[in-house]
Symmetry: C2
Subunit: 221 residues, 2 copies
């Protein structure tokens, strides 16, 4: 169950480099502040520096790394301010994505989402934060399956990526909040089933995210 084997996917070397470096950031091999030396990465991956450079700049555009001219790239830091920005933005785009998707979610998808949520509940019993986090993403992914606006969905995914890079290094699992989260998921499903109006659903989805932010802030203080 090592991380290798993701390496050789698409033919493009720059794509490979992108995927490889991104994976290392998300899984925590490269922690925030880690210095990304082009030549070194290139050697590790068995490619030249050009595609690596391209990959790094792409990651920069996504906010996962910070690039400084003539100095180099480092994995993006995780100061609380940045976390706040990201969570706030996510609450907005997730809220919109949920509201837009809601009318298009069929009962079968609801059932699947509910099943995922029940699995999350199990994770609470057996204390499995890693799996819980993955399932949490699955849950929302099911809701967004038929999101009518791909741009918004893309913004959601970007936010998730940023959080992933933070999580690997400093994430602290807050059991109380996790339990709440499961309940909010169920409540959200019921709103969707009931065919509530977009505004109600959007607000609920937003609060679901901001509540996590609040829990973090309360604990950090």
């Amino acid at each position: 169950m090592t991380d290798i084997a993701v390496e050789s996917k698409t033919g493009s070397k720059s794509e490979q480099a992108y995927a490889a470096v991104k994976a290392r950031i998300v899984e925590g091999t490269y922690t925030p502040g880690y210095r990304l030396v082009l030549a070194k990465i290139a050697e590790d991956l068995g490619v030249s520096v050009v595609p690596v450079r391209e990959a790094i700049r792409r990651l920069e555009a996504e906010g996962l790394v910070k690039f400084e001219r003539n100095v180099g790239a480092t994995v993006s830091g995780i100061d609380p301010t940045e976390y706040l920005y990201t969570m706030q933005t996510l609450s907005i785009v997730e809220g919109a994505a949920t509201a837009l998707s809601a009318p298009l979610i069929d009962p079968e998808a609801i059932a699947r989402a509910r099943a995922v949520n029940e699995e999350m509940r199990d994770c609470l019993e057996h204390f499995d934060p890693v799996r819980f986090t993955a399932l949490n993403q699955d849950f929302h992914s099911v809701l967004f399956e038929h999101c009518p606006n791909p741009h918004i969905l893309d913004l959601v995914h970007r936010g998730w990526n940023r959080l992933a890079s933070l999580r690997a290094s400093t994430f602290r699992f807050i059991p109380g909040r996790a339990r709440e989260s499961v309940e909010e998921h169920e409540a959200l499903l019921q709103l969707i089933e009931a065919g509530e109006d977009a505004d109600t659903i959007e607000k609920a989805a937003r609060r679901h995210r901001t509540a996590t932010l609040d829990a973090y802030l309360a604990q950090a203080k």
Copy 2:
């Protein structure tokens, strides 16, 4: 008042290439569908292909160009669907940006915004769509001056860029909508002055954008 002279800004060639190509897209020299051949652009700008490639990929990440593996880059198209996605996303992020900024806008900024809006009104009399559009962006920029979340502001700017590339090619000025727009600006300023709650302001800002979309759709049909 030609467009050249933007060329030699930052020392970085890839930055220059980025700015140059972006400018040509936004101003309409490169229209949607235009084939961006790396070698040709490199020659035009007097640099090698490597920085040009980097610039193009950056523009791809922003949605201004479309890149196909082993085929090349073309200026992004402007089909109505894409326009809809962009406008819808903009309505959401602008709405959020406006609501978040509102409590931080001081009377002096309000006055400036109002002055810009009055200039827009003048543009209606003298029929100056180009200036009107520029001022429209200025108006919202004033409101967003103290936006507490730079991520959201960044999303707003990305949306504006995409629209700019569309506008140069197929934008059709709708006088009736422009007049409405000026009135909505004034109404928005009054809501802000009155210290209305975030939700009210957010909805107003959203509607301001979606109304333009609706006007476009009504006309296109």
